[in-house]
Amino acid sequence: MKARWHLVLIPSLLLSLFLLLSSQIAFLRGSFFKDLRLGRIGTELTVENYVRFFTDSLYLDSLILTIRLSATVAILTLAIGFPVAYILARMRSRWSLVLLAAIIAASFITIVIKVLGLIIIFSSGGTLNRLLVGSGLLERPLTIMGEPAGVVVGLMHFTMGFAVLLLYGVIKTIPRSLEEAAEIHGAPRRRVFLRVIVPLSLPGIVVTSLIVFNLCMGAFTSAALIGGGKVFTLPVLIQQTVIMQTRYAMGATVSAVLMTVTLLINALSVFVMARFDRRRGMVA
């Protein structure tokens, strides 16, 4: 009799759904009422908050900015993290474990400390600017604080460790013999990379990108600290709406839109990936 291993997934799925729904339903419900200030909400159901979100450029621009920054971080993190993960996975030296341990340890450092480190490095009198100005490469100090570029750097610093760890695990599962076989048959390294390594690690690349993307969509600290009050991503707007203005219903609406958009982007990516996989299977 064939073992039905997929049944093992059901308890964890139910638990995840319970935790997600129980915490979000009350919040979502609140988004359909009117704000009466000071944390109080009305009693009549309304979609006024959603209409406002999708007709007000403040919220729409913030949504677009959040998606754009998160996508940029996902792409750049992948571009930098994949080679690192590949080299670590293929290293025969014992140093690979040391380097991997260093990456894991770095992932444990709280984001606030990481961001403060970046602020020190990128300040006018910081290490980087002193080096660049001192060497004559720059006339005056360059700063990315208070700019979307700075927030991208902060988010990459936050997510890089996770990305490398995830990709390391994926690449480790690809037998080295496949690369060697391709090389024996005359494929140059670039072709081996593009035709063997990338296709085989594609599911892992997609999952890693989505995890990084999701982390960035909800990230508050980097945008708040490095953004210098000028980069209004949705999490920053949520914090202002809930804490500053105590407009819980509007805060819930912005959160609901953020969650829905993130889920839709994830679902779409998985759908495209599944179709791509099916087509590749048919071609093979």
Partner: protein
Amino acid sequence: MTNLDRRQVLTGMTATGIGLVAAPRFATAQQPRFDGVTLRVATFGGGWDRAVHKYAGVKLEALGAKVEYVTAPPRDNLAKLIAAKGRPAPFDVVEMGDLTWVDTYEAGFLQKIDLANVPNRKDLLPSQSDEWKVASWVTQEGIVYNAEKFAANGIPKPERYRDLLNPKLAGKLCLIDITQAGASQLLVGASIDEGGSMTNIEPALKFVKDANPFQFWKVGAQAVTLMNSGDIWASTMHAGFAVQMRRAGLPVAFSHPKVGPTKRGLLKEGWLGVVKGSPVPRAAEFFINEYVSAETQFGLATERGVVPVNGQARAKLAGDPLLKEMFLLSDADVGNMVSVDFNVFNLDDATQRWARAVSTR
């Protein structure tokens, strides 16, 4: 001179002895004891909590209580009260900014203070205490600037907010963030000075946008660090920060900006209240009384650079040359400063318009 016999002398000595032994005990008996009581105080972080404890908290702890501090800006503490509605209060004493006080009161989070337990309010102005709140400090909002950098770069002393638009200050300026209490004073001051008002803040938003600051600071220490590193040469802050920076050796000066044709400088007030449902109101009132005492007020002024609400402490301050330089202390000067009327100024609306004005895309 009356001659005393031996019995009278002995009686007198015995009575004096009993008096000497009993007097301190009697005096102590007048002080309430707070053994086993824990008082939770919501106040500012960044060292303010430690300074408050050093002067006021220790007095309560000397009587057996334990004082714990919940540190956050006033709006965050109001959000905690809202979130805890229907459940026990998360703290007993709350320190509020002038706007937060209005919201905290209107939302019904405060309980009446028994003013008989706050005798030190005799040194406060009558308007600075009532049964719902007691004033805790005053700050004077304006412009802190690095006098050496200004002089070296030929930048004149800023007299008005618009002077910060000097091209030589491009990238060297910080402004207070809208999430911070002093932002209302900046918006109102810059608006009135440019022909607007507390209801028409468009000129101030244009000023904020044109200034394009290096950062909007969310914690005072952030601007202090940037000033220290040389990243910025000026910031809108309260005069207390200028005092702290000068004491730390930074060559800063403070300007009380002119507001319109006659006014100069902007005031911000802090208030203390007892949270509704506090199980320890007597300890809360004792703490508030110590907070507004001349000793605490003078200590907070010299250490943290706020202007005391206690008249005795204010009079004593005039003897400190640095504080005299940074603060406007005379009644005439204080009377000529601008206070924000939060029944007129709409911070919710200002917050949203601010985000539209300064957002980087």
